[in-house]
Amino acid sequence: MRLSPDELIFWQYGFLKLNATIVFTWGLMLVLTVGSKLITRRLSISLKRSRWQNLLEIVVTGIEQQIEEVGLSQPRKYLGFLGTLFLFVAAASLCTVVPGYEPPTGSLSTTAALALCVFVAVPLFGIEEQGVGNYLKSYVKPTFIMLPFNIISELSRTLALAVRLFGNMMSGAMIIGILLTIMPFIFPIIMTALGLLTGMVQAYIFSILAAVYIAAATRVRKPKPEPEAKP
């Protein structure tokens, strides 16, 4: 049994391998970009609009609202990054209804790449909002002793993001694979439906956690208000 779609190789030339992870990632990228391009080709601003435009508007405004609720006051600025993460992970798990497809997020390489994107993006957004000095100062708050712990937490949460998504997706595929050998009828379908639900929850959690990290990095600390003198 395969642990990840990395081991399913379609084409190989020397050390250049084209495995299932890369092929399905390219497929998803193609579907997402061409789909949105086709939908946004004719946008209408009147009351009469196509179903697809309604769908995209619901998705975009929904993501925007969620980002704003986490505490980022300008969701448009972060919509590109966080929305892409959510849509990619959600599409990767929703496409499991297509036979022969394996989610590319079930490979540790994909999830590590996504987590590294978050790892790089959080300091970038933080520096953009606070400036280099203020952002670096946030590492030695509240005292200087906390510096190593802050750095370790930065690294470990990246690892946690990657392994969480990988473990959830891989376990879904693995359970279906094991059940197919024991009980080939009906029951795997129920587990597939459950896998769709966990896939959506994981996509939500991945993007919300990234939003929370960005919100923590971009939070400008207000100066403490003077304590009022007691009468």
């Binding site: 049994m1 642990l3 969620q66 609720e69 986490v70 946690a160 392994v163 969480r164 990988f166 473990g167 959830n168 891989m170 376990s171 693995m174 929850v201 994981q202 939500y204 959690i205 919300i208 956690l209 929370v212």
Partner: protein, 93 residues
């Protein structure tokens, strides 16, 4: 018992124990978290959006420990590095 048998037995047994014991703590913790969230939802239905979001994020954090155990046991069964090492040694001889 030769080396391969020992490694196979140890890997399989440890994989089972890892998943079994590793899911115990997160299960209890998730139960407590959901119970607390439900009671606070019943007390303050207005704050449902915030409570639900925080609950989901917290559940994901708790669940990730169980996922680590699962990944370790899957590695022990399907991609065991010690097993591969012994196999490589046996075929190399």
């Amino acid at each position: 018992m030769d080396n391969m048998t020992i490694i196979a037995v140890a890997s399989i047994v440890i994989a089972g124990i890892t998943t079994g014991f590793g899911t115990m703590g997160p299960a209890l913790a998730e139960g407590r978290a959901v119970a607390t969230a439900l009671s606070s939802l019943a007390q303050q239905p207005d704050a449902s959006a915030t409570i639900t979001r925080t609950l989901f994020v917290g559940l994901a954090m708790i669940e990730s420990t169980a996922i680590y155990c699962f990944v370790v046991s899957m590695i022990l069964i399907f991609a065991n590095p010690f097993w591969n090492h012994v196999i490589a040694q046996a075929t190399g001889k």
